[in-house]
Symmetry: C2
Subunit: 240 residues, 2 copies
């Protein structure tokens, strides 16, 4: 992987790095770094390349997420992370939407500034154990009761790899609600074009000088390519 | 509803009756009969019409289901009920499939005769509270680990109405697994053609002399019409 990164690095000015499955494998224990990845981040930064961590993980606030990665030895700060929750907050504010949140408990603080009274939309993230029948049914009832149901999904991933095996991702539950309510979710996060565009803007690098590196052929590679970036699929993480 | 039934009755020899949302509204308390439906069943039987109860409910064995309806006053026996679980068992036997069951606890006895060791398929029913993240993830891991994933779904309903409101049905969770595993479920139960055909065979009435009565436009009405039956949608149950 490092050789591949080095080859790309000669041709580009900015790198977008997926995190889970590329830098580390997540897990109930916090996860473990993938061999060589701590050093790879250090070398990318030393090379003068612009770097942006571009994640769809929504099981924690960016603060908590970054703290975990720092604990593994990664050189990473909150300001370098592009994540779905802040993008969703921007969208909610723009459209005066008041969300019902079906997300992981640890993500809730990202929505602290958002009015959630009398919800007129549902925001779904990787809620993991919070995806109980009762919670999914509550979101369903709210949606089916809306004149125009609005479902905002923090990603559309099928599954991801944790240290103890594969786990269903938010996309599966998004599909369940889409089907039950006959609605199409609006996806915030990868592979949404807007998400990659804001990551590029935050880096100050145009698409044609940037490379996305990820383990997901749809969300990382496909999404980046549709924005005019080049993309590289690593064979770690969920790669099968 | 009784007038409509009477009008149909003059032209037909057999009736297929959906149960939930037509004869009663289900619920945690067992449910309540819909006004006039106990009497309607009695009158249909007295008229000499053939009658078949055609349900996609999979939260209980047929025995338990029938006992509940008898308790509400309905003239119904197990032999008059066409339900997805027995149809699934026939399919499993024909194809030597050994299921992992993601179903309601009370449905499990329907699969007593079926070899479930070392599963090579997943059977999903309306598992309700059993649709935990852990249980859905277990079914997902089994499927994604199969060379050729086989997912058998006991219906494809979006939702149904219980006494305390709408509830997500098996179809939503079927879609979640279909998406996560990139597989297409095989649906047993309504609206599968085979399911209606076996109900007709059990009644001994050809499609063109039978009428299906239900509250679901896709599963009851659409499914029956594709089999050459006439169909009637009642405005009780989940009708909106």
């Amino acid at each position: 992987r490092q050789r591949a990164m080095a080859a790309w690095a000669r041709a580009v000015r900015g790198l977008l790095l997926d995190v889970s499955g590329v830098l580390y494998d997540s897990g109930g224990d916090g996860g473990v770094p993938i061999a060589g990845s701590v050093e790879a981040v250090r070398r990318i930064k030393a090379s003068g390349l612009k770097l942006r961590f571009c994640t769809n993980e929504t099981q924690a606030t960016r603060e908590k997420f970054v703290k975990k990665l720092q604990g593994m030895g990664f050189d990473i700060s909150v300001a370098e992370v592009t994540a779905p929750a802040p993008a969703a907050c921007r969208l909610l504010k723009e459209r005066s939407l008041r969300p019902h949140l079906l997300v992981h408990d640890d993500l809730v603080p990202e929505f602290a500034e958002i009015d959630k009274a009398n919800p007129n939309c549902v925001v779904i993230g990787d809620a993991a154990e919070n995806f109980t029948y009762a919670n999914l049914n509550e979101a369903f009832r709210l949606l089916i009761g809306m004149e125009k149901p609005v479902l905002i999904s923090l990603g559309r991933g099928r599954y991801y790899k944790e240290t103890d095996g594969l786990k269903l991702d938010v996309g599966a539950y998004m599909k369940a609600l889409e089907y039950a309510c006959d609605v199409q979710a609006e996806v915030v996060g990868k592979p949404a074009k807007k998400f990659f565009e804001s990551a590029l803007a935050e880096m100050g690098v145009p698409a044609e000088q940037a490379v996305m590196i990820g383990d997901d052929i749809v969300n990382d590679v496909g999404g980046a390519q549709r924005c005019g970036m080049r993309a590289l699929q690593v064979r770690t993480g969920k790669y099968r």
